[in-house]
């Protein structure tokens, strides 16, 4: 599964999580290597968000083991987890920006609070501005999250997730509740971050077109646009795999071509929705 001896970034080994007796993840196993992308599709309440939170150690598994950057995080204390979490950026579903802080303070938060980052205070301002420039939100520094539109909040949250330049970024439904044009802008940012910083990326979504875009397009730094990845020679296609979840279980894991060949009605439902 590993391509060219790449390092394992996320590994789930028969992970089970349940809330009040109801399973949220049931015997889930998969592995993601450095520089790879996983698109996680699934209906509502199929366990997609819990999967991301478990990968970050926010939810503890009942059984099984979770490895992050080769370290077993299953039984780590919260203090130990803080160090390893500093290598992961996460975009939460509803952005989860802190209401009481300005956009600037929100984006600066991980730089100031993550001990492992050790960002000198004089650099914070510059890095915050760079991150906000990356998501094209230069003019919002002093504004509060409630003053921004849904799409702008999502972009600010992406800036906060990537400001520390983490090697792994987790996106929870980055396009949920957005109009198609804004959704495209957000996905373009996700791809831009993946291709410019060469991050390992996990994207939870219920929109197949998000997956298609991630698998088949790459960011062109010269034009600043997304361009189609070539059939051959471009690693984007090979590095992107799809996971389909249903009722807390992984029911499909494979490439786009394999996904398109599946006849199962639940899985093909996502394909139809994407128009692929």
């Amino acid at each position: 599964m590993a391509s060219g001896g790449a390092k394992s970034v996320v590994r789930f080994e028969q992970v089970t999580v349940s809330f009040d007796g109801a399973p949220a993840l049931d015997d889930v196993s998969f592995e993601v290597f450095e520089g790879e992308t996983r698109i996680i599709l699934g209906a509502a309440s199929s366990g997609k968000t819990v999967l991301l939170k478990t990968a970050l150690g926010l939810v503890r598994p009942e059984s099984g083991a979770v490895y992050l950057f080769g370290q077993n995080i299953t039984h780590m204390t919260e203090q130990e987890l803080f160090d390893i979490r500093s290598k992961v950026g996460m975009l939460f579903q509803e952005s989860a920006l802190f209401d009481s802080l300005t956009i600037k303070e929100n984006v600066a938060y991980p730089l100031v609070n993550q001990k492992a980052i050790q960002c000198p205070l004089e650099d914070v301002d510059r890095r915050v501005k760079e991150a906000l420039h990356f998501v094209e939100l230069d003019q919002t520094l002093a504004r509060f999250p409630s003053e921004l539109s849904g799409g702008m909040r999502r972009r600010a949250a992406i800036a906060r997730a990537v400001v520390t330049e983490p090697p792994l970024v987790l996106y929870d439904s980055p396009t949920a509740g957005l109009d198609p044009i804004t959704a495209y802008t957000i996905m373009a940012l996700v791809i831009k971050e993946r291709d410019l910083a060469n991050t390992t990326t996990l994207i939870v979504t219920h929109r197949f077109q998000d997956g298609l875009l991630t698998a088949n397009f790459r960011y062109n730094p010269e034009s600043g646009q997304l361009v189609p990845a070539h059939e051959n020679g471009d690693p984007t296609r090979h590095r992107t795999k799809f996971i389909v979840m249903r009722e807390a279980k992984i029911v499909f894991l494979g490439t786009q071509a394999e996904l398109e060949a599946v006849t199962d009605s639940y899985i093909s439902k996502f394909r139809r929705q994407g128009g692929g």
Binding site: L58, E78, M90, F92, F98, D99, P110, N113, K115, A116
Partner: protein, 256 residues
């Protein structure tokens, strides 16, 4: 074991874990002093009007009622004594704490609950901050500092309210009112009058934060957490005030 019993035991366990880590964090870095000061302002200064109002009127009502009762034995001059003792020992701490519980335990539950349901608590953990250290401990420290101070203010305003009624409405001797009020108080009264709000501060801050951190299920969940926090904190204030009074009165009996 029945499901509801398991849930109760788990909730109690969760509450003790929260209490332990909130107290332990008082002695651990990082200290969020800005948040402590902000909370002191919000809980202390913000609760002043309501505490002053309830203090004044409870003292005034006590003076009206007790003057009538004491008149039967021709002891109307002792109104100051009765008002001071009732306020400092019981009504001051209990009423102030109930007001602050109504205002701040619910406020904490709704604020932290909203953060919980919008994943801001998860984001905090993801970004290297312990939510207990950042949210619960500053609220606990702030409440423990300001609630005894608010109680002192309520006690004084209450005794003043009693004076206004005694001197203004009942034509009693004003200086004598203050003299009897002052002489009535002993160290035991002051100790229990200050220890009670200190204990209640733990109840208010921890119950408020506990229900906030447990909130789930969107805005409806936040509403539920807010109500539960206020009701639970108020009920515990009533229960604990009984036990604390029992301890202090038995001390007085054994020492006399």
């Amino acid at each position: 074991m029945p499901g509801f019993l398991v849930r109760i035991i788990l909730a109690v366990q969760e509450f003790y874990t929260l209490t332990w880590s909130a107290i332990r964090n008082v002695f651990r870095r990082p200290h969020y002093s800005d948040d402590i000061i902000l909370q002191m302002d919000y809980i202390g200064v913000g609760s002043m009007p309501i505490v002053v109002l309830t203090g004044f009127f409870s003292g005034a009502v006590m003076a009206l009622q007790l003057a009538r009762a004491l008149a039967r034995w021709g002891q109307q001059g002792q109104v100051g004594t009765a008002v001071a003792i009732t306020l400092v020992r019981e009504l001051g701490p209990a009423l102030t704490s109930l007001m602050v519980a109504g205002r701040n335990a619910s406020g904490m539950a709704s604020e932290i609950g909203s953060m919980k349901v919008t994943e801001q608590i998860d984001a905090m953990r993801a970004l290297g901050t312990d939510p207990v250290q950042k949210l619960v401990t500053p609220r606990l420290i702030a409440t423990c500092v300001v609630l005894p101070l608010l109680t002192v203010i309520a006690d004084f305003i209450g005794i003043f309210g009693g004076y206004v009624v005694a001197a203004g409405l009942l034509d009693l001797n004003g200086p004598r009112y203050w003299q009897t009020a002052w002489q009535a108080l002993v160290w035991n009264d002051l100790t229990q009058g200050l220890l009670k709000p200190f204990v209640f501060a733990f109840v208010i801050a921890l119950v408020g934060c506990f229900y906030g951190l447990r909130a789930s299920g969107g805005t409806q969940g936040v509403g539920r957490a807010t109500t539960q926090a206020m009701v639970t904190a108020s009920v515990w204030i009533f229960i604990l005030t009984f036990f604390l009074t029992r301890i202090f009165t038995s001390q007085l009996v054994s020492s006399s």
